[in-house]
């Protein structure tokens, strides 16, 4: 789909001429076309991840595996950290893609024009999320492949691959409410990056991206259990390290938590977003930068 074709689809009113999914797809193409204009940034993103994997590969040589084993993740710190790095793009996608979209449109002064088109913001959001999901999936595959090359003891089979796909979708769905709430904050405070960074750091720290949460003092560990990422990470790690599927009790437990987060989180996040959005529209500050 060319840029012109994508824009034509987005211009059409919801009269049945074009389906909802076609519009979402066009919106995804729009985001991909914009992002792929900045090829050097994409190369930088890959390089950054590549060096991160190498850093943790080297760091693993001086790490004793006892605490990792005690937390149930086997004897390899590299495998533990590798999974953390591999899914960090999904975390960024679910937590920051919406706020980044709003911030960019605010920055370029296009947010008001976008909102006045026949295409709803939800379509644009879904298109963006779909783009980031696919982009993160490319990263996931490359990182796991690089990890295997460097000798990470992870199990890739049909069962674990299928489990991974289901868990990654659940990860996105359960974390997205936080992303929606953060987008509302960007709309209100007009501060894109700091909120996104803070959310990413908080999640990475408390969910145990680089160390098992069993190391945290009990009071801090309580915060870990508020974050859906903790359960997503646990399930994905457990499946890839031990080669088990969706029906394993530990993974099933994590899945239930993620579903609960999604079910409870969406109405709250959407309510927050709607209140802030209506407030900004009424106050005329939607496009203010």
């Amino acid at each position: 789909m060319s840029v012109e074709e994508a824009l034509e689809v987005l211009k059409l009113k919801d009269t049945g001429e074009v389906s909802f999914s076609e519009k979402v797809f066009a919106s995804m193409v729009r985001r991909a076309k914009i992002r792929f204009n900045y090829k050097t940034w994409i190369i930088f993103d890959f390089a950054n991840t590549f060096f991160m994997v190498l850093t943790y590969f080297l760091l693993a040589f001086i790490i004793t595996p006892e605490d990792i084993s005690r937390a149930g993740y086997g004897p390899s710190y590299f495998a533990f950290a590798l999974v953390g790095i591999a899914i960090s793009h999904y975390v960024t996608a679910s937590l920051r893609s919406l706020s980044m979209t709003i911030r960019l449109e605010q920055f370029y002064g296009t947010i008001e024009s976008i909102l006045s088109t026949p295409t709803s913001f939800i379509v644009l959001f879904l298109g963006d999320i779909l783009y980031f999901f696919l982009y993160s999936t490319v990263f996931l595959v490359l990182i796991l492949w690089l990890g295997l090359l460097l000798g990470a003891p992870i199990v890739i089979s049909i069962e674990t691959a299928f489990t991974l796909v289901v868990l990654v979708v659940l990860l996105m769905l359960s974390n997205l409410p936080i992303g929606i709430a953060s987008a509302a904050m960007v709309l209100k405070f007009k501060q894109g990056n700091p909120i996104g960074w803070a959310l990413t750091w908080i999640n990475q720290f408390f969910a145990g991206t680089f160390f098992p949460i069993t190391l945290l003092p009990e009071e801090l560990r309580a915060i870990s259990f508020i974050l859906p990422l903790t359960f997503s990470l646990d399930a994905i790690r457990y499946s890839l390290i031990w080669g088990v599927g969706l029906l394993h009790p530990r993974i099933l437990g994590d899945i239930i938590y993620m579903i609960v987060y999604a079910v409870v989180g969406y109405p709250i996040a959407l309510k927050i977003f709607n209140v802030v959005y209506d407030d900004a529209r009424r106050g005329g500050g939607l496009g203010a930068y």
């Binding site: 050097t40 390089a47 060096f51 190498l54 850093t55 004793t64 700091p194 720290f205």
Partner: protein, 293 residues
């Protein structure tokens, strides 16, 4: 506050006021940038949160690191101190290399670069100096914040006044060398544009090969990677900085002399940097592409 900034900017563009020294104008440039920063209070608060959490991550990773393994590689067995010193210094690396080019990118994309250069060369240089100092003020806040959080969490560093002076000297020398690279890059940016990512990439490579989070000796098993790492000035700066504050080595230690000699080899970069920058600036002026984005 806008009025206050306008008052400060008079130092640059108002013919009546434009009598201040180079330093006054550089400080005015720094002041106006700090004023802008101060208006983003939430940004500052979240930056401090970022500092705290980034140190806390390595505090907990430190529990996993084997002190014996770190000792066997020739370091003190405190991984928290190791990581904190690496993280705090790496921030300067990013600032030194990419701050100026980023600022130029900002001014060019906002369409204000031509007016800045049009003032006159001396004013432009003082503006540039102010921007560099601002970059380092911000990085220094990061540096001090990271060290403070690290020390609060129990990172063990030496408490000798002279060794701290030595560490700061090493830090400044490392920054100066890398600012040279940054000025060359900023000059090239005026003409070639789109270099920002390359600079980030360069900083990333230097950060990885410098061993910010792992001991360099681990690279002995991968000879090519090891040779690349010792060819980069940051590796030597960081190694000296760590050895000073973790192990109390003086500059007379044979290995410190080796690292210092290597770092000094790169010192002429600062002079070359200014020459290259001036050359590109004049070239862009003649070709009329100063404001081209």
């Amino acid at each position: 506050m806008t009025d206050e900034i306008a008052e400060v900017m008079k130092v640059f563009y108002d013919r009546e006021v434009r009598k201040g020294s180079f330093l006054t104008r550089a400080l005015a440039s720094l002041y106006y940038q700090l004023k802008i920063l101060a208006s983003y209070k939430m940004h500052i608060a979240l930056e401090f949160l970022d500092i705290t959490l980034s140190v806390l991550i390595y505090y907990f990773v430190g529990f996993l690191v084997s002190p014996q393994a770190l000792s066997s590689l020739g370091y003190s067995p405190d991984y928290l101190a190791f990581a904190v010193l690496g993280i705090s210094m790496s921030r300067y690396l990013w600032t030194s290399i990419s701050r100026l080019a980023r600022k130029l990118h900002h001014e060019i994309s906002e369409g204000t670069f031509e007016s800045l250069v049009a003032i006159d060369t001396d004013n432009f240089k003082s503006w540039l100096t102010g921007q560099v100092i601002y970059g380092f003020t911000w990085s220094s806040m990061w540096f001090v914040g990271t060290l403070a959080v690290g020390l609060f969490l129990g990172a063990k560093v030496v408490c000798d006044f002279l060794l701290w002076v030595q560490a700061i000297f090493i830090l400044i020398l490392t920054i100066v060398v890398h600012v040279g690279i940054g000025i060359v890059a900023a000059g090239m940016y005026i003409k070639h544009k789109q270099l920002e990512t390359m600079l980030f990439f360069l900083s990333l490579v230097m950060e990885f090969f410098g061993g910010v989070l792992y001991p360099l000796s681990l690279l002995y098993n991968y000879r090519i990677l090891y040779y690349i790492s010792i060819l980069l000035p940051f590796t030597h700066g960081l190694e000296m900085f760590r050895r000073t504050l973790m192990d109390g080595w003086s500059l007379l230690h044979p290995r410190m002399i080796f690292h210092m000699a290597f770092l000094l080899l790169f010192l002429p970069l600062i002079y070359i940097g200014f020459k290259v920058f001036e050359r590109y600036l004049n070239m862009a002026r003649k070709e009329g592409i100063l404001g081209a984005y």
